[in-house]
Symmetry: D2
Subunit: 423 residues, 4 copies
C-alpha cells in the first residue's frame, strides 16, 4: 500500500495492535490443545458441550462468515463447513444440529488446522492492507469470541475426559492437596444507600450486554472478600445440605432429586468414611479445603448461601465493589486451569461467581447490528449472571463489567460463589 505521495504508507497503528492481538489469541487457542491427539478433539460428551475440533473450527468460521465473506467479498474455503460450524446464527443459515457436533469426523483436525492458518493469513492481510469499514470491529469481536471459546474448550474437554476411566492426566501432575483451610473471610462494606452506575462507559471493548452504563439503586450491603472454599462447602455437605429441602429453591431441589446430586460436579467418594476426591485437569485428586469450591450450579450456590445465613450478591452489588477494587485472582494465563488455594482477599479469577441476578437486558440495551446481533441478546431468558472470570478465562478478556451467563443447573463451568449480606 502506498500513500498518495508515493511513500510506503505507515501501517495503521490500531490495526497493527489488533493484528498482534489476533495473532496471539489464535496461538493461545492452539496452545490449549497441545499434546492432545486428534481423537481427543472429536467427541461431544453432552449436548451443552462441543468437541474440541468444533471449537477450533467454529472460531475460524466466525472470522470467515462475519468478516471475510461479507465484508471482503472472499469465497469461503468450503461452503459445507459453514453448515457444520455455525453455532446458532439463524441469520446465517441452517446448521449441524447441536447434539450431533460430535459426529463430525470430517473435516479432519489437519484440515481444520490448515483452514485456521489460511483464515488467519487472510485476516492479517486484511488488517495490514487497510480493512474495509466495520471489519476491525468485527475482528475485535471475533477475538473476544475466541477467548470465550478458549474457556469452553477447557471445560468441555474436562467434561469429556471425566467420562473415561483411561483418560491420562491432561496437564501434567497435580500439586498435592493441602490440608489447611482457607483464611477467614472479611467483608467489603457498602454502607450508603443510593444510586450507583454500572455497565460499560466507553473506552475499551465491551459486549453489547454490558451497555449502556446506567444507574441502579443499591441498599447497604457487604460482600465477602473471597469466594467460598471447599472446606466451607464440606461443612454444608456434612450438615446434610443435600438432604434438606428447606435450603433449596424448588427448582433446585427438583434438580438435586432428578440428578442424584450429592456434591459438586466431579466430586466422588467410594464410601461415607473416606475423603472426597475430585476430577481435575490433572486427573483425580483429593479435595483441597483451601481452594474455592467449584463446579456448582446456581442452585447449589444459592442453597449454600441460604444455609450459611447469607445470600448471593446481585450483579450490581458485585460490580460496585469490583469497579472500585479491580480483579486480581488467577486466570488462564498462568496455565494452571484449576483454581488456586485461597490465601487472602481476592476478587475475580479462579472461579466464576454466581449472582442472584437473572440475565436480562440493561435498560436501553441495543443489540449489535447484523448477524452479530444474535451474539448476546437472544439468550436473555432462563439464565443467571456470573461474574469475575475463572482459572480458564484469559486475563485480558475480563473486566469488572463483564457479564457471563449460564442456565441455573449448569455445573461444568468453573463456577463457585461469594457470599453477600444486607447491612
Amino acid at each position: 500500500m502506498t500513500a498518495a505521495d508515493g511513500r510506503p504508507e505507515a501501517p495503521d497503528p490500531d490495526a497493527t495492535v489488533l493484528a498482534e492481538r489476533f495473532r496471539a489469541i489464535r496461538a493461545a487457542t492452539l496452545a490449549l490443545v497441545a499434546g492432545l491427539d486428534a481423537e481427543d478433539l472429536v467427541p461431544q460428551s453432552m449436548p451443552d458441550a462441543s468437541p474440541g475440533k468444533w471449537h477450533l473450527a467454529h472460531t475460524t468460521w466466525f472470522f470467515e462468515a462475519m468478516v471475510l465473506v461479507p465484508l471482503a467479498g472472499q469465497a469461503p474455503a468450503d461452503r459445507r463447513w459453514h453448515y457444520l460450524f455455525n453455532s446458532y446464527y439463524e441469520a446465517l443459515g441452517p446448521r449441524q444440529p447441536r447434539p450431533q457436533r460430535g459426529l463430525l469426523t470430517r473435516p479432519s483436525l489437519a484440515e481444520v488446522l490448515a483452514w485456521r492458518a489460511e483464515v488467519e493469513d487472510r485476516i492479517l492481510a486484511l488488517l495490514t492492507s487497510g480493512p474495509p469499514p466495520g471489519a476491525a470491529e468485527l475482528v475485535a469481536l471475533g477475538c473476544q469470541h475466541e477467548q470465550q471459546h478458549q474457556e469452553l474448550l477447557v471445560t468441555d474437554l474436562k467434561h469429556l475426559f471425566s467420562h473415561n476411566l483411561a483418560a491420562p492426566a491432561w496437564r501434567g501432575r497435580a500439586p498435592p492437596s493441602g490440608m489447611r483451610p482457607a483464611p477467614a473471610t472479611g467483608w467489603h462494606r457498602h454502607d450508603q444507600a443510593g444510586p450507583v452506575a454500572i455497565g460499560e462507559d466507553g473506552g475499551g471493548f465491551a459486549f453489547d450486554n454490558e451497555r449502556p452504563r446506567h444507574t441502579v439503586w443499591l441498599r447497604p450491603f457487604a460482600l465477602a472478600d473471597r469466594p467460598v472454599s471447599n472446606g466451607e462447602y464440606l461443612a454444608f455437605l456434612a450438615d446434610g445440605g443435600y438432604q434438606e429441602p428447606a435450603h433449596w429453591l424448588a427448582d433446585g431441589w427438583a434438580a438435586v432429586q432428578a440428578g442424584g446430586w450429592q456434591a459438586p460436579l466431579y466430586w466422588r467418594r467410594e464410601a461415607a468414611d473416606v475423603p472426597w476426591r475430585q476430577f481435575t485437569v490433572w486427573g483425580w485428586r483429593d479435595v483441597d479445603p483451601a481452594e474455592p469450591v467449584c463446579h456448582l450450579s446456581f442452585y447449589e450456590a444459592d442453597a449454600y448461601a441460604r444455609w450459611a445465613g447469607a445470600r448471593l450478591p446481585t450483579e450490581a452489588e458485585w460490580e460496585a465493589v469490583a469497579s472500585r477494587r479491580g480483579l486480581d485472582g488467577g486466570f488462564a494465563d498462568n496455565g494452571r486451569l484449576h483454581p488456586a488455594p485461597l490465601h487472602g482477599p481476592s476478587l475475580g479469577g479462579e472461579v466464576w461467581e454466581w449472582t442472584a441476578s437473572a440475565y436480562a437486558p440493561y435498560p436501553g440495551f441495543r443489540p449489535l447490528p447484523g448477524a452479530a446481533g444474535e451474539y448476546n441478546g437472544k439468550f436473555m431468558s432462563g439464565q443467571m449472571v456470573l461474574r469475575g472470570g475463572s482459572c480458564a478465562s484469559p486475563r485480558d478478556h475480563l473486566r469488572p463489567t463483564y457479564r457471563n451467563f449460564f442456565p441455573p443447573a449448569a455445573r461444568w463451568q468453573f463456577s463457585g460463589l461469594r457470599l453477600a449480606r444486607d447491612l
Copy 2:
C-alpha cells in the same frame, strides 16, 4: 366467651370482618363449580394443572394444616387427606405426586364438600371465639391463597375442557364476536429519570414477595394505556411472526419449534383462509379483534413486543404507573371469565401482563416464618413476573404491588401483554 367482669365479650371487630371475608371467599369458590358434575372435577389435564376437586380440597387443607392443627390443636379430619392435598410444603410432610392428582377418585366430591363445610365451621368458631396468636394472620393468608386457587380452578378447568370435543359450553352462551378493532393505543409517560419506591408499604394484606418497599431507579419510559389486542396480534401472525426467528428469544424459538406453536393457546383454524377461532368458557367462537390477546407465553409476548418495535415493561415501570393510576379492568367478580373487548384506556384486570422482570426477591426480602415460608420464596427462579390480574382474578385479591409469576412457556393462564418503550 365472657369478659372478666361477666358481661358477654363483644366480638373483635377485626375478627368479624375476617370471618365475613372468609365466608364470602369460600362461597365464591363453590360458585365457580356450580352446575358442573362431580366427574368434571376429577381429571388433571397436565402436570401443571390440578383437578377441580383437588383445588376444593387443597384450599381446605390449608386452613386445617396451617391453622386448626398447629394453632388450635385440633385433629385433622383424616390424616390421609393431608398426604393427598398438600401441594408442595416440604415442611408438612410427603405428598401425593403432583402428576397423580387426577387419580384421586376418593375422597368423593361429596366428602370433600362436607370437609369444606366442617373446616369452615371450625375456622369461624375459632375466629369468633378469639383466635390463638397468629391464627388470624394465617386465616387471612388462607383467604388470599384460596383466591389464587379460584383463578387456577378456572384456568385448569378451561384447559381440561379444551381436550374434549364433547364438552358443553361451561358458562352459557358466548356473546357474538365483534368485528371492530380496539381503539388506538395512547401512552402513559414517565419523563423523569430518578428513584421510585415500589412494593408494599404497610396497611393492608400483602404477600411476603411484595415486601419490603424499596427504591429502584427508573429511566424515562412510556407505558401503553391498554393491553395489545387480538387484532394487533393477528397482524403479527399475518406477518409471519411465528416463522421468523429474529423476533424471538432463543428459548422462545425452541419452544415454538418443539410445541408446534402457530398462534396463542386455544386458537385454531381449519385452513389458512378461514378466520381463527378460540376456545373459551363458552365453547368455541371466532377471535374478536377488540379483545386483549390472551393465553400467550412470555416468549410470545416478548416476540410480539420486539416485532412491534417496543418492549415489555419491567415490573417496576408497571407498578410506578399502576400505583398512580389504580386498577380498573374487568375481574372475576363480573362473572364473565373471559377478557372483555377494549374500549379505551385500562390497567389491570382482563389479562395478566407479562413483564420483562424475572421473578426474584426484593432487596431485603424475608420469607414468612414456619411452613408458610414456603409460600413464595422457593419459587424465585426460572419464572417471570406478571402484573395486573385477569378476568379470572377476584377484584379484592389484587393490588398495584401484586406479583404473579409463571414459567416463561406457560400459556394456560389468562396472560397477555402491554407494550412499553424508552423515552
Copy 3:
C-alpha cells in the same frame, strides 16, 4: 314379525340364544361397577389403562359402530362419541388420543348409561326382528369383546385404586391370608414326539387368531399341574432373584433396573424384615403363600422359570395339555376377583399364564373382513401369548384354544406362570 302365511313368526332360536347372552353379558359389565361412584370411573392411571366410563362407552360404541350404523342403517346417538370411544380402528376414523381418555368428563356416566340402555334396546330389537346378514356374527363378536373389556375394567380399576392411599376396599373385606404353602407340584407328561393339532376346529365361537387349526410338532415335555405359588416366588426373592442378572433376559434385566422392580407389581414391604403385603380388590393384605403368584411381567415369569431350573411352556404345549384336560380354575363368575389359594392340580382360571411363545399369526391366518379385521392381527408383534384365563375372566369367554397377549413388561393383568420342562 309375521310369517308369509300370517301366523306370527317363531323367533329364530339362535337369535334368541344370542339375545339372552347379549343381555346377560351387558348386565355383568354393569355389575362390576356396582357400588362405585361416577368419579371412580373417570381417571386413567397410565396410557395402557382406560377409565371405567370409557370401557362402558367403548363396548357400547362397538355395537353401534359395527352393527347398528353399517348394517342396520341407524344414526349414531352422537357422532362425537364415535370420536371419543373408538379405541384403535383406523378404518373407522380418528380417535381421542389414547393417553387422554381420562380427560373425558363428558358425556357423564349417566349419559353413558343411558346410551348403553338405548343401544341394548336397539340390538335386542334387531336380533328379535331378524338381523341383517352378518349382524348376528358381529353381535357375537361384540359380546366376546365386551367380556374382554370386563377383565380390563377390573385390572384398570385395580391399577387406579392402587395409586390412592385413601381408596376404600373396593370389594368388601379380604379373607385372611393363610400361612400354609400350596401343595406340591405334579407334572402332566407328554411323552411322545410327534405332530399335534392346535387351534380352533369348528363349532363354537373363536377369534380369528385361534384359526386355522393346524399341526405343530412337539417334543416330549412335562407341564406342571398347577401354577407357581407366592410361597415359591418368595423363595426366588429371598435368593436374590431380582439382583442376579444371570436369571434374566437382557430386556428383562433392563426393565428391572429401569423400573426399580424388586417384587411383583402391587407388592410392598416397609422394611426387609417384615412380611410382604399386596394390594388387592379388598385393599392391602399380607401375601398368601398358597395363592398363585400374580401381576408378573413375562420377564419375571421367564426369570423365575430359569432360576427354578425349568422353562415356560410354549403355547402349543400348553394347549396340547389343556385340550385333553379342560379348564377348571376360578373365573370371574365366582365374584372373588383375586386368585384363590391352590389346593391341588388346576389348569385355567385364577391367573393368566405367560408362555414362551411370541404372539404371531397361525399358519394360514386370515383376519376378519372389514373393520373387525383390525381386531387381532395388527397386534401380532412385540407381544407374548398368555393362556388359561384368570379370576377376572368370564368363564364362558375362555377355551383351551384362547390366546391372550400382552407386551412382555406388562404387569397389571392377573398374570402368573406355570413351569414346563423337557423330557
Copy 4:
C-alpha cells in the same frame, strides 16, 4: 514343543487351520478401516451403534477376556480396558455405559492397534504351542464373533457418515445406477405338508442358537426366488404405502408416525417430483430399481408383504429352501459393501431378509457354558429373526442355519425381504 520321543512335535493340523483362519479374519477387520482416519473411528452416532475403534478393541478384548486371561492365566494388557470394551457380559464385570462408547478418546487408535497385534501374537503362540482345553473352541467362537463385528463396523460407520454433509466417499466411486428393473420373480415351491428338520446337525461351527436340530411341521408354501427390489418398493411408495395404516402392524404404524418415516433409511428426495436418492458407502446416488431394497425395518418389510398380497416367510420355511439350495448372493468378500443389482434367482447375501419369526430358543436349546453363555440366549425376546447374510457379511461366516436377529424397528443393517405365500 517336543513329543515324548524327542522329535519335534508336528503342529496340530486343526490348530494350524484355526490359526490361519484367525490371522485372516483379524486382517480382514483391519482392511475394512484402511484409508480412514483415527478420527473417523471415535464417534458413536446412536446408542445402538458403536465406534469403529470400539469394535477393533472389543473384538480384541474378547480373545483376551475369554481365552488369554481365564484359560492361559495371562495378565490383561490394561485392566481398565476390560471395563471400557466389555459389551454386555454381566459375568465379566461392569462396563462403560453403552451410550458413552463414543467418549473413549483413549486408548488411542494407535494403542488399540498395538493391543490387537499383541493379543494376536499371544493367541497364535497359544494355538501353535498346544492350546489349553477349551481354548480352541473359544478362539473359533472369537473368530465368528469378530466376523459379526466386521459387519457391524460397516453398518455403524455408514450410519455415522450419513450424519455428515462433508463425509467423503468412503469406498471410492459409485457405479452408475441402472434404470432397468430387476427380472421377474419366480417361486420355490414346497408342496408337501409334513415334518422338516431345521437347525445345525453337527459337523462345522454353529452358534448355540442354531441348535439343536429339531423337527418343525410345515404346510405347503412358496418362497420367492429373489429378494424384493427397489423398483418394486418404489411402487409401494407411489401407492401411498407409508400413508395407509391398513398395511401396517400397530407397532409399525406407531413407528412410522413417531419417526416420520416416508421411505427406507438413507433414502431422501428434495421434492416429490424428483427421483429418490440413497446414501451408500460411495456417498449419495440415485436409487437403482434393480437392487434389492435395503435398510428396511421389520415393520416395513411386513407392511410391504401385506400390500403385495403375500407375507414374510417363517425362518423354518426359509431354511427349508436354503438348505436344499444353498447360499449364492454377494458377500463382503467381494468388497462392494452394497447390494448388487438382481439379475436372476439368488438366495443369501446382498441383504438380510426379515422373517415372520420372533427370535426364540429352539426346543431343547442350551446356552454355552460360562461367560460365553451370554452370547445369544439372553437376547431371545423382542427381536425378529433375519436370514441369509448381506453384502457386509463374510461369506464363510454364513450358513443356511444361521440366525441373525434385530429389534423390529432397526433399519441400519443391510436388511430387506423376500416374499412367501401359502400354497
